[in-house]
């Protein structure tokens, strides 16, 4: 992390008074014990007390807090529910932590236009809860949906098991109101489709709190599929499983969810929730088909057939809602289940082209030997998003370091086979130093130019996402050569 600014820390009392004048009462937290609740997000390996915590309640307060920080060169870390798994909401010693959790109202549900307008602190599941009485839901459903806030989902462009069919956050957000670091309030989109100028909504979604603070969100809501059924399919090898996934998609079928687990994860989950998973398979696939009843019945038959031609050694189709939920119970409990067999684990998150799955799994087994740590795999098979869980014991000297080195090797491997560093958790501080594995210096420069357009002083969430912070003045210089007779090799017409 960048070294804390001693001057800002020395001005803490003055900053505190200014913030208290903007957000009265209990909206400013400065007591060390109370601030402890904010010292980490879900990436608990990193902890840092913030300078001060502010919980504004109105857009005007957010605007004035940001303007004050902008005018006085104070850094700001925006935060939703703090469920980030990549350290995106980790506080800074010399920065104000801006919690948006008092923005927790559903403002408008508009069924005719299939849109809901909510404040950023509403949980992901809270949106579905507000619309389900009419049969609607909000499609992107990260595993943390019960706790994570929609503002945080926008910061991280969150996904979930439904992504392959229904898209990520970016495909389901229609509009935003946001406050820029200088305090200006801007609105992007709304209940209408597409933007009127540059697609700033695209830049904001997944920007990890580096570009602006979201104060209102308009999302697209969908009618719940008429029915959903799932298949539980076991394979003797992961190659067979991988081929089955490819064949399902090749047959023109896009399942509502398609999840895979390897042997270690299957055993851990089965021991934990007794979902009835077979133990004598190397890979277990859950395929969920959702949609009109007539269609789901048809596709279940097709997927069964595809599974058989791919040597499935175990195949069950859910015959009731209860059975479908049982199939999912093990997968959904996979993380805590692995937590039972290991004192600690690191959850990684990278995406690969699906065809590379067998190669990646084989290489991961070699890396497991090299680093002396076991790895359990659960992943979104439909979109190639892997979640290797690296098992370690933080109390054994050196194991955390080994786990982190193993994790870095896995992500490098993802990039090497044509994939990316993160499929849904974000870069944060966790993968920040690996950005250069995927992007060249020139690529990263362009990303930082986006930052300079929004926040030229680098005050919003600095130290996240980018390994080196170039100053905007340096990035702004142009080195162009004036040519005499330019480029004789470029064809002219």
């Amino acid at each position: 992390m960048p070294a804390p600014d001693k001057d800002v820390i020395a001005r803490r009392q003055e900053i505190l008074r200014a913030l208290q004048a903007i957000v009265p009462g209990e909206g400013v937290i400065h007591d060390e014990r109370e601030m402890r609740a904010y010292e980490t997000d879900a990436l608990t390996a990193y902890r840092q007390l913030p300078l001060i915590v502010v919980l504004p309640q109105t857009v005007d307060q957010v605007s004035r807090v940001l303007k004050y920080c902008y005018d006085n060169n104070v850094k700001v870390v925006p935060r939703g529910a703090g469920t980030s798994l990549s350290g995106g909401a980790l506080p800074l010693a010399d920065g104000v932590l801006l919690s948006m959790m008092k923005f927790n109202q559903v403002l408008d549900v508009d069924f005719a236009n299939r849109a809901a307008v909510v404040q950023p602190g509403v949980t992901n599941l809270g949106i579905t809860r507000a619309v389900e009485h009419e049969g609607f839901y909000y499609a992107p459903d990260p595993s943390s949906q019960i706790a994570c806030s929609i503002g945080g989902n926008i910061a991280e462009n969150s996904g979930g098991v439904h992504c392959l069919k229904y898209g990520l956050t970016t495909n389901n957000v229609l509009g935003l109101e946001m406050v820029l670091i200088n305090g200006e309030v801007v609105r992007l989109g709304g209940k209408h489709l597409d933007s009127e100028g540059y697609d700033l909504l695209a830049l904001m979604t997944g920007s990890e709190g580096l570009l602006g603070v979201v104060t209102e969100v308009t999302v697209r809501i969908l009618q719940k599929p008429e029915t959903a059924r799932a298949l539980l399919i076991g394979f003797p090898t992961s190659e067979d499983g991988g081929r089955c996934v490819a064949d399902i998609i090749g047959a023109g079928i896009i399942p509502g969810g398609m999840e895979m687990m390897d042997k270690l994860a299957i055993h851990a989950a089965e021991d934990f929730v007794h979902a009835g998973y077979p133990r004598d398979v190397e890979a277990l696939l859950i395929v969920e088909l959702d949609g009109p009843e007539g269609e789901v019945d048809l596709l279940i038959g097709r997927v069964e057939e595809i599974a058989r031609t791919n040597q499935a050694s175990h195949l069950r189709v859910s015959e009731s809602e209860e059975e479908r939920m049982t199939f999912w119970a093990g997968r959904k409990a996979a993380f805590p289940a692995v937590g039972r067999i290991s004192p600690d684990y690191l959850c990684m998150d990278g995406t690969i082209p699906r065809r590379e799955l067998p190669r990646v799994l084989a290489r991961m087994r070699e890396l497991s030997v090299k680093h002396g740590l076991a790895v359990a795999n659960v992943f979104h098979a439909g979109d190639g998003n892997l979640h290797p869980l690296i098992l370690y014991d933080a109390n054994k000297p050196g194991e955390l370091d080994a786990a982190e080195a193993f994790g870095a090797d896995i992500l490098k491997l993802c990039v090497e086979v044509g994939g990316v560093l993160t499929g849904e958790h974000g870069v944060g501080i966790e993968k920040r130093d690996l950005m250069s594995e995927m992007f060249t210096e020139e690529d990263l420069k362009q990303q930082q130019r986006v930052k300079c357009a929004f926040d030229e002083k680098h005050l919003l969430n600095p130290g996240k996402v980018f390994p080196v912070l170039n100053s905007c003045a340096e990035l702004g210089k142009m080195h162009v050569h004036k040519g005499k007779l330019p480029f004789p090799d470029i064809p002219r017409f």
Partner: protein, 396 residues
Amino acid sequence: MDANFKPRDARQVEEAVKWAAGEDQPLEIIGQGSKRALGRPVQAARFLDLSDLSGVENYEPAELILTVKAGTPIAEVEKLVEDNGQELSFEPMDYGPLFGESSGRGTIGGVLAANLSGPRRIKAGAARDHVLGMEAVSGRGEIFNSGGKVVKNVTGYDLPRALCGSYGTLAVTTTVTVKVNPRPESSATFMLSGLSEDDGIKALCAAMGSSAEVSGAAHLPAGVNGGTSNTVLRLEGFAASVDYRFNTLQSLLRDFGSATRLDEDGSKVLWRSIRDVEPFAGSDAPVWRVSVAPTAGPQLLRILQNRMSAQAYFDWSGGLVWLSSADGEIHDADIRAAVGEVGGGHATLVRAGPSVRSNAAVFQPQPGPLAALSRRLKEQFDPKGILNPGRMVSGV
């Protein structure tokens, strides 16, 4: 002789842009030139012609991924994926008929630069929703990659999506990676006739809010459509599923009258015509493309009919209003005011002569802070203002 550049690869694009930046020589970026009538006329003496930057780099149907050079004809891209049982689900519209030119022209780069989507936008998302990665050259002459070549990626800012709809004013795209999807096995259209605009849009919104998975929802008022109005809903997918959902719509929309069914071929012709604004082809009356909340569509038209002589039809469940002005005037102030009165959205002047487009705000004007932010973004990527200057906003 040295007026225009026709690069064969990304390096040559980079060299050309570097030179242009060094010499302060603005460039108009073109593929096949099929969308030159969109937006404001560009003030540039030179073309950067990307039509030789063509061809497929990587197509993996099983991965749902296609990587192509930006100048690849869109017709070739569509043919390739169709031959593999797939499609570009955003159903890119074709401005050819509206501009009095032939159909099927344009490049994939141009489609993305203008973020062209068709009726399936309401279910499948816009062109920008299907973009995964890009290689591009900024106005500084710096070549860069962003995004990735897998369907799920949140690494770094989503520049590829942001470059969509930027009309080549931020960077010159050289290669794109897009997501493709399986092509539906079958399709049919559910059609109600004789409904008023309000009832038509009500029916469309009810259908869109059902589990029928509608992939096209349009209302064509009498006048635009001939003697009677048609309210049409498209269903696509496995044949059995289409039949099943047709019945679902029938019982859901019983109160709106009895429906007729257009089979696959009839359906295809109809939706192509809606997509490509064929009702307003063959004339040069000004045409606007207005995006509002779906239920605001008829309201907008009612307001405007008191102020101008307007013809209109509705796509996107009522939210996309194609509007033609009968008296030859563009009525930009009236239209923009009406958009504000119905709750906001944006209106783009799509068809008008070059001098009219030079003098009008073709795209929806933005409030001060938002316009300033967009300008800062332009300055970061193209500080010399050499890429398609003035195409979107005068002086930018």
